[in-house]
């Protein structure tokens, strides 16, 4: 089932497109990572998904229902938009109670359970204004997750979290997806998106310039074997004579991007050693999402 479906969605501010003809389909149980530079249009799209901003053109539906002021499946949706602010004079638990009532829930154990899941037990009676940035983020996530929604729309969910918090949230999101929740998240921490998302969309100047699955991403990432020997010039001549297309890079290392080198770097190591050029260093380099992203938006 398609949980999120947008067709040619556009929003203009004057003549500037904040979203330009965006069509996205997100399936049940999928984690969709949405990446782009600041001002690329991520938040505008998220606000349109949440019915806060009306698109100028195109169609948008959640759970197969068209988004309009009468859309009423909001208890199936949890969200976090931009900075997760809370009522500063209310404690963590009081803040959650506000949304507990607004979400018309009737199971108080949900409050305790989300406080535990997000490791907020120690801070439950602390006023929101006294929380650290990381704990404010946890509180924002707690508001989004408290009612166990089927769809989570998260804008920069790991902003401000410490490394331990990032791992916890990553595991929590993966667990939710395993249990059938669909997650749409935007982030500029690209490494994190690549660890979580099944599918990634790249937005630039309001346009979706690339959309690919984890598998497709993995195939498109640049991979190469990097070798360092005692005599790189001689070694590269020897490799060329053995039908390896090798080049010297800016760091004066030997680079090989052929499949046979990438799939069997041990053969390369053996050949070089036998020829008297034992590698001082040999490693398989894989481009990360950040490099891939920058390569694609430039």
């Amino acid at each position: 089932m398609e949980i999120i479906k947008t067709e040619s969605l556009s929003k203009f501010y004057g003549v500037t497109p904040a979203s330009d003809n965006i069509s996205i389909h997100v399936n049940e149980g999928e984690i969709y990572g949405f990446i782009g530079l600041n001002g690329a249009g991520k938040t505008t799209l998220i606000r349109m998904l949440l019915g806060m901003i009306k698109p100028d053109e195109g169609e948008l539906s959640l759970f197969g229902k068209k988004m309009n002021p009468r859309f009423n499946l909001w208890n199936n949706v949890g969200y976090l938009v931009e900075t997760p602010n809370s009522y500063p004079n209310l404690s963590v638990v009081e803040n959650l109670k506000v949304y507990y009532h607004l979400r018309q829930l009737n199971d108080l154990s949900l409050l305790e359970s989300i406080i535990q899941d997000l490791k907020l037990v120690k801070y439950k009676n602390v006023k929101a204004k006294h929380l650290s940035l990381g704990n404010k983020q946890r509180l924002g996530l707690a508001k989004a997750l408290m009612h166990r929604p089927q769809l989570l729309i998260l804008d920069e969910p790991i902003n401000g979290l410490d490394p331990e918090g990032i791992v916890e949230v990553r595991e929590l999101l993966k667990k939710l997806a395993r249990n059938g929740s669909t997650i749409f998240l935007s982030s500029h921490i690209l490494g994190e998106v690549s660890k979580i998302a099944n599918r990634i969309g790249i937005i630039r100047n309001g346009k979706l310039i690339k959309e690919l699955t984890n598998q497709e991403l993995s195939e498109q990432l640049i991979k190469k074997v990097v070798v360092q020997t005692t005599d790189n010039t001689a070694a590269i001549k020897y490799l060329s004579s053995n039908n390896y297309a090798a080049v010297i890079n800016d760091e004066n290392e030997i680079e090989l991007n052929e499949k046979k080198a990438i799939l069997q770097p041990e053969n390369l190591s053996r050949i070089l050693t036998e020829a008297g050029f034992p590698p001082k260093q040999l490693y398989l380099f894989t481009e990360d999402l950040e490099m891939y992203f920058l390569r694609n938006i430039r």
């Binding site: 606000r47 949440l50 019915g51 806060m52 901003i53 009306k54 002021p69 009423n72 909001w74 208890n75 949706v77 969200y79 938009v81 931009e82 900075t83 602010n85 809370s86 009522y87 500063p88 004079n89 209310l90 009081e94 109670k97 506000v98 949304y99 009532h101 607004l102 979400r103 018309q104 006023k127 508001k143």
Partner: protein, 259 residues
């Protein structure tokens, strides 16, 4: 809407602003009490100078009639300011605290959330006026003002609460200004302007058609100008209030929410 109202009640927990409005509003019965004290004491009248001159100029005497008149006029004039402050805070805080976006995609509809806010506004304002009446009664008893008749109390209570109603319902445009300007400053500026214009327009003799002057004129703050109030005066006030409410609901429901 019950759940939305409970949420609104939760939000005002620990809010110092609640006490600030009660303290600010109670200045009126306290000042009224000072007037009564001065008027009750011939020596004080001579020493109080401008204050006693003002009290005498307004034909006040040290009795319940004058004291209740002061309280009613304070609701009309001070109410525009304090009630406007309350509306600015209830509706504007969501933008100042950056929590408005968390109210827009919930099973409780945006209209119910607004209605809960309006309900809180009305109750808050009424409690403020009742508290002033209680403070005033205590001060009056303390000053040992001559016992009032039941008719006098009934007439003033009716006037007092009708003035409250007129002052409260003119707060809807302030709520609209808060969500339109996305914060406190816009509505507070609007309240200040409304108050200034209500005084100027009332002084020029046309206050009976300016909605923010009507409560003041009705309370008797404009003396004989109260007689100028007619059906149109109240209709204009009610129309302004209804338009303020419709504008708030429409904007909250249909306009793009980017903050």
């Amino acid at each position: 809407m019950k759940q939305a109202f409970i949420a609104e009640l939760l939000k005002i927990r620990h809010a110092k602003i609640v006490w600030v409005t009660f303290i600010a509003f109670s200045l009126a019965p306290i000042m009224g009490g000072v007037f009564m004290l001065i008027l009750n004491d011939p020596v004080a009248i001579e020493n109080a100078g401008a204050l006693s001159a003002k009290a005498q100029m307004m034909n006040f005497s040290a009795n319940w009639n004058s004291y209740l008149e002061i309280l009613t006029q304070a609701v009309a004039v001070g109410g525009v300011l304090i009630f406007g402050f309350v509306a600015s805070w209830i509706f504007g805080r969501e933008y100042s605290d950056d929590t408005a976006k968390d109210l827009l995609a919930l099973p409780t509809s945006r209209i119910k959330i607004l209605n809960a806010k309006y309900s809180l506004y009305v109750i808050w304002c009424f409690v403020l006026t009742v508290s002033n009446l209680v403070v005033g009664a205590l001060i009056g008893l303390l000053l040992q003002l001559p016992a009032p008749t039941t008719d006098l109390i009934t007439a003033h209570a009716t006037n007092y609460f009708l003035t409250t109603v007129l002052t409260v319902i003119i707060g809807t445009p302030v709520a609209f200004m808060a969500i339109w300007s996305k914060g406190y400053l816009g509505p507070l500026g609007f309240v200040a302007l409304a108050l200034v214009f209500s005084q100027i327009i009332a002084a020029t003799g046309f206050g009976y058609y300016f909605p923010w002057s009507v409560p003041g004129l009705f309370s008797g703050a404009g003396g004989e100008y109260k007689e100028q109030l007619d059906t149109y005066s109240y209709l204009i006030l009610i129309l302004t209030s209804v338009l303020g409410y419709i504008a708030t609901v429409s904007y909250w429901r249909y306009a793009d929410q980017e903050k």
